[in-house]
Structures are given as C-alpha cells and as structure tokens.
C-alpha cells in the first residue's frame, strides 16, 4: 500500500472519530495529535485498535506513545514498517 493511502485512511478516521466538524485542511501530516490532546489516552487506544484491524498489523504496547503516534506522518511510518 502506498504511504499516501495510509495517511489518507488514518486522517479520515481521526477526523470522523475525534474532530467532528473540523476543516479537513487543518489536519496536516505533521499536526501534533497526542501532545495537543486531540488524541487523549482513550482515543489513542481506539486509534491503535483501528490500525490493527484496518492494516492487519500488531502495535506493541510500547509503540503506542507520542514518539510513534503523534502525527499522521509518524503513524504512516509505523504502519508501513509493519506491512
């Protein structure tokens, strides 16, 4: 799967789940998600479940942190490394 396709899928999910009504243009590949509270701990758990089901991968507990999941770019890196 192309990297851009991963970014788009995750972006649509984050917008629909955690940012209803938000202008999609505001959410860029480098928008911080965890350090700004857009993804709180509960939302992060939901996102990890989504990634595992959508891309058929396993995200380890130690990977579910702001170093790996803070931006769409980082999430795409994590996912593409596991495909």
């Amino acid at each position: 799967m192309e990297r851009q396709a991963i970014v788009d899928k995750v972006k649509n999910y984050v917008l629909a789940q955690f940012l209803p009504g938000e202008d999609p243009n505001e959410l860029t590949p480098d928008t911080p998600l965890m350090t700004t509270g857009i993804l709180d701990s509960l939302a992060t758990l939901k996102l990890v479940t989504f990634l595992e089901q959508e891309f058929n991968i396993t995200v380890e507990a130690h990977e579910a942190d702001a170093e790996n999941l803070n931006t769409l770019d980082q999430i795409a890196d994590l996912v593409s490394g596991k495909l």
């Binding site: 940012l19 202008d23 505001e26 928008t31 965890m34 350090t35 700004t36 509270g37 709180d40 509960l42």
Partner: protein
Amino acid sequence: MTLQRYLEDAVAQHGERVAVREPGDVAITYRELGELSDRLRDRLVALGVEPGDRVGIYLRKTIDTVASIFGILKTGAAYVPVDPSAPPARNAFIFGNCSVKVAITESRFEAGLRKHLAEEKAAPELIVIDEAGGGVGLKKALDASPRAPQSATVYTSADALAYILYTSGSTGKPKGVMLTQRNATSFVDWCSETFEPVPSDVFSSHAPFHFDLSILDIYTPLKHGATLALIPEDIGKEPQKLAQLMVDAGITVWYSTPSILSLLVQYGKLEEKDLSRIRTVLFAGEVFPIVHLKALHKILPKPRYFNLYGPTETNVCTFYELPSSIPADRADPFPIGVVCSHLEAAVVDDEGNVVTKGERGELVIRGASVTPGYWNLPEQTAKAYLNSGIGAGDDDKRAEVRWYKTGDIVTEEAGGVYIYAGRKDRMVKKRGYRVELGEIESCLYRHPQVREAAVIALPDDELGLKVRAHLSTRDGERISVIALKGFCAQHLPVYMIPDVFAFHGELPKTSTEKTDYQALMRME
C-alpha cells in the same frame, strides 16, 4: 463614623454642589438629597421602622434610590437592595428572608412583588413610587400622604448593620451578606486615602446597587462632596451609549467589572471620544483579560489603573496599581496586589496552617471590613470563617482571631504582592492531576481570536471528568479545534487542554455582568 454622617457632613460643607446626577442633565444637590432623605426617614419612622430593622429597596437605579438608601440609614435600619431586573419571586424571597419591615418599590414592580410576598407569607408595608427618576418620583410618593412628624437621624453604633447584599448561594437560594457600619466606613476611609477624591471629581456608578462595587461608587464621592454619576441598567450594557455618557457626565473616576471595560474597548469607539477627564480607572470582580486591558491602556494611557480584589464578605481587600506602561509581550494577568491598609492577609493550606512564603494556598483576610456573616445562616457562616491562632496576640490579647476564607488560591511574591491562581472550588482533579480551570481560561485569553472564555468541568462516563471550554470569538467565526488544541499545548500540560470546545455569539452573563457559569453547566 456612620454612612449617614457622611451625607450630613457633605450637606453642611457642600450643600449647593451636585451630589448625584442622572443622564439627561437631571441632578440633585447635597442639600436637596439631605432634605429628601430626611422626609423618607420621617415616613419610615411613622411606619414603625426602628433601629435594627431592615428596609427593602426594589427600584431602578435613580436619584430616588440613593435618597432611599440614606433615608433608611437615617432611621438606624439596614437597607436591602435587590436587582430590579431579577424575577419578582426572587426579590420577594429576599424580603421575606430578612423580614423587611418596609419595602420601597415602583408601580411597575408592585403587582409581581405583592403576589410573591403573599407566597412568602411576608407582609411588609410598601412605599410605591409611580415612576422613579430625578428624586421626583419619591417626592411625589411622600407628598401623597400627610407629612409625617419630624424624627431625628439615628447615628447607629459601628457594629450595627448598614445593609445586606444578597449573592447567589450554593444551595440555589440567595444568601444575605450582612455588612456593618464599620465594614463600610473602614473601606470608604481606605478609598479616601488611596484615591484622594476631591469635590470636583465625578465618580461613575456602573455596578447595580445590589452588587458590592456600588459601595465604593456611592459613599466615596459623597464623603468628599464629589458627584456620583448614575448609569442606568440599560445604558450600562450598550457600549456606545455608555462611552457617550462617560463624556457627557465628565467622569473622572471609573469603576466597573473588566467585562464592561472589555466591551467598551471593543465596541465603544473610545478612541473617538474625549475622555481626558478620567484620572483613575478601577476594576474588580474578575480577571481582566490582558488583551483587552492592553487595548484600553493604549487608548487611555493617562489615567492611573488599579486592579481591586475582594469578595463581598470583605469588600476590596487587596489592590494593585498597574505600571504606567504595559510591556507589549505581557501575557499574564496582573497581580491582585498588596493587602489594603485596614486589613491583614495570610495564605493557608487545607488545614489552616500558614504556607511557606511563595507556596500556593488559600487567601484569608481579617480586619475592619470583614463582615460578620450571612443572614440567618449560622452553619454557612461557620464554614466561611476560620478561627485561628494566626495573628492572635499581635494587637489584642485573644487566643484566636477570625479570618474570612476567600476561597481564592494565591501565591505571595516579593513585597507582599499576591498573585491570583484561581478559585479553590474551581480546582478539579483530572487523571489525578490538579487542574485549575481559571488557568485554562487565562491560556485561552492569550489566543488572539478569543474574545471570551469560560471553562467548566463536567462528569463524563468515559473520561471521568470532561473539561469543556466555552468561547466567543472576535469575528464570530469558529476557531479550528486543531489550531486551538495546538495553541493550548504551547502553554499548558496536555491533561489541562480542554476536551471539548463550544462556540457562542457571546457567553451568558449574570445580573452583575459576570460570566454565568451556572448557565454554562446547564448547557448540553
């Protein structure tokens, strides 16, 4: 000294000067105000009012209201002013609660008041003014009955009640803060010392008379033969008319909540007005968002600015004079300042022990303007005050002294300057962290697009506690949540970033023009 004595002295010294002015060039001199209040005193005494009684005032803010206040004080009774825009049921509850012997009202309020007084099983005598304004309405009402025999003005003791101000109570029923003559005069004397009024001064009267800001407004100018410029309730909320009134009345000392000054600076076209007579700007009641304060200071750089702080239970207890220029990069609100000369302050922890200097704690206050408590609510009174050994034995030999617990969290900096950190009861715990909702508001006010911000915490099934920010913006447009959360992340730890943002044209306000948090809590 008593409040009624201020007026008697001013009548003797400044009889022909204007004491009170209404819009439209309607005014009353000290001599006339003295006479009108004497006539009301005589009527009240004829109706059976005695020293120690309570008399209600349910009038729009007019010269008639000021004359009523002094007429009541001259009988030795305490006055109980209510909000004329509040529901009659609430006002009838207040009159019933402190069992006023007489209530002074206007025809327009009479039917509603009578109906609800009956429900409260209260039956005070009513003096009904057809239409308050210029003192003429009160005079007509007094003329309508045969002249009452002349009585003498009563100079009550310093411990006698002067007035009761009802504030919203946590139980949902208003509670009456009792204020003695000494509470009021010690504060007014401090105002004299600090603001140095002169007879040529014109003080604004923006706050409604049921609000404690009105004490400075009414008594400080009257003590010095200066003029009180009444601002009626309707004009008080319309920035352009209000700005014009400031010019027309020639106001020299302005006092209001920051909300009103924020409105004035944004919509009052102040830059087009000649406000060069204003020498002092006082504000109190809430934190002044720094963006609006800077904007005001830019338009009006000349006056001295004071941030006054204090709950109704102490009146103003700390104050801070702003520097003559405000640094452009200042983002924090100004301190609440140093304790007033007639009071003492301490900062205590939850156990009532003084904290190490510089640590956070609750501000407690003692001294001449600290009120005796709430009308007929001994339990709430006991909870609100701290009997402590702190400060005991200094000037008296008592083992314990009585402090009022402000419920405000502060830190003390060098020079005894207090920094406001928020309400004790607005401290919530989120994910185990202590979160001060006021601190989140201060952060939101730094955002250039934010006009008003109010943050509340609500129970939440998933998060335990959800922090919701209510905002209004300068252009009325929503701000991107991503942008807002990103902005907050620059100033706050992530657990303090609001979970939800709600946008409004403007935030709901209470009758005293403060943000109505109760209304925000009720919003879905």
